[in-house]
Symmetry: C2
Subunit: 334 residues, 2 copies
């Protein structure tokens, strides 16, 4: 498949999912709840998880139309976590739009999150598949893991140090699970063989990791305009990203002091000029200590492992697109 | 069945459900999340919904052990709503124990609610039934309805007047659905006939209403010590209970002015003495306007309708116990 054709097909799938999501919440009452839910569901997004799900279904020989409900459900599960996470992180905006608790209030944000999750299950349970129990179980495990990942994130914030292993555990649950589940669930609703289902779960697990490390990296090296937010936010927040966790492990002497000082999270209350200087200094030390390169290497490694996992699948357009998505996610600049 | 035997069986079921609930969350990490979840799951409760579910399963000829997962799941769905509702209502305590957001914080309360819901689905999906899709769909509809009911409750608080019909719609979703679902879900996991499933849904719908009106009534007429909280709370809060909604519709002149003044919710910030005087005055006017009697009549009416619905079921101990529970709920004093 040519890149042009792949991109057109991706846009087509995205439009299908957008349409499906827009059709789910039809009720007008209770007003704030339904308007809030539609506001979230209609937010523009890359629809990565739902696209992965549909392509994984097709890659095992399943039909797209049988995957559409599960695809919308996984996108809604993702959106449910965003609404509640934004409350917990006290985030005023997301992708340039006010968050639900900012536009309405805390109560509506809690309820909007809850009800979107309800509609997610409602939609998932409409899937035409011979194994709805397995599909719903996997979906549920993923939902529980995301909650656990978010709780670990909160817990780790209070600790001065976490290991690389703990980092992987946390982001695996918080970000990785949902991406891995998207691929696996697609294979399940597509009635894939056990080997195919395992392959797609492995694929999802690796691109989930690559995706998160790339996210951590972009906070430092991205083009601010294209990213749509200031870079260095994680540095000022003292967030335990792949970069910081790796740096804390690797750096010695003054560098280690600098990295350790970030975890006290004093950057948040600095005047803008000092913030810029701190971000610049930390970025340069990340560079010098080889942390940026280590992150890039790890992303390449995970992406290669993801693509290797696809080999057991029969050659198809869907398989080619999955490979393209893995590469695109690892190379994205925003 | 003698009352003594019924009570012993109820205690036995309650202990079984308590045991099941205590066994579900075994993980120790993330710490706050898991401790918070166990704190909620181990809270003492009447286990009305789960008992109804098991008895409904038995009343259609199903086996208790096949209903235990669904019973625990419905109890957890109920607890999920309590944790999030307590955040929204800013409630410091529930049944004499600090609420989750008071004992921990807002973030943990949101996550504990979410993860309990996750475990609820996890447990439900372990049910041995030939129709897991139907069971999970009903469970999900109920979950969505509870969110909608809570949102309506918030919405109605801002309005000076709601109709009796709107009252029924709101409490039907907020309280009634879960009780009706408990009975219906029991019939489904017990593989009941369509007629039996309908009968138990009808039964549940009516006792759900009776339960809520009794709840509203107890705020005014209960024995404070046995209720475990001050009476008149709803009056001071200007809560749109069955009593207030009925009174707003029925009363004229000065009485109407008094009832209408409650909806401004000024009672909350009055000094204790004025609060006591207001509660006393409103209670006496409820009495004089026949509102207390109207509530009692409605509870009797709903309870009779519930018991009538049971007639299509074969005579059994479970059926006798369901009848006993309906009567007990309507006559409870706390």
């Amino acid at each position: 498949m040519s890149t042009g054709r792949i991109e057109r097909r991706y846009d087509h799938l995205r439009a299908l999912i957008d349409g499906k999501l827009a059709s789910i919440i039809r009720a007008r009452e209770p007003r704030d709840l339904m308007e809030g839910s539609r506001y979230v569901m209609n937010a523009p997004g890359k629809r990565i998880r739902s696209t992965l799900l549909i392509l994984s279904c097709e890659a095992v020989g399943g039909q797209m139309k049988n995957a559409l409900n599960a695809a919308a459900a996984i996108e809604m599960l993702h959106n449910f976590t965003l609404v509640h996470d934004d409350v917990m992180d006290n985030a005023p905006s997301r992708r340039g739009r006010p968050t639900v608790h900012t536009k309405w209030d805390l109560n509506n944000a809690i309820l909007v999150g809850d009800v979107i999750l309800g509609f997610a299950y409602h939609t998932l349970l409409q899937s035409r598949t011979s194994n709805i129990r397995r599909a719903a179980r996997l979906f549920t495990e993923s939902f529980v893991a995301v909650c656990e990942g978010q709780a670990l994130d909160v817990e780790y914030e209070r600790r001065p140090f976490i290991s690389v292993r703990e980092y992987y555990r946390m982001v695996g649950k918080k970000t990785g699970t949902l991406i891995a589940t998207s691929a696996e669930l697609g294979a399940i609703v597509g009635n894939g063989t056990p080997g195919q289902i395992t392959a797609l779960r492995t694929f999802g697990k690796h691109i989930g990791r690559a995706f998160q490390i790339q996210d951590d990296l972009l906070d430092v090296v991205a083009d601010e305009d294209r990213l749509g937010k200031k870079i260095g936010g994680d540095i000022l927040e003292g967030k335990k990203t792949f970069l910081l966790v790796k740096a804390l492990k690797r750096a010695r002497g003054k560098d280690n002091d600098l990295f350790r000082s970030l975890t006290a999270r004093r950057g948040r209350s600095m005047p803008p000029e000092e913030q810029r200087a701190l971000v610049k200094r930390v970025t340069s030390r990340y560079e010098m200590c080889g942390i940026i390169e280590a992150a890039r290497r790890q992303i390449r490694h995970e992406t290669a492992a993801a693509i290797r996992a696809l080999r057991v699948l029969p050659s198809s357009n869907a398989q080619a697109m999955l490979q393209w998505i893995a590469t695109m996610l690892a190379e994205r600049t925003h």
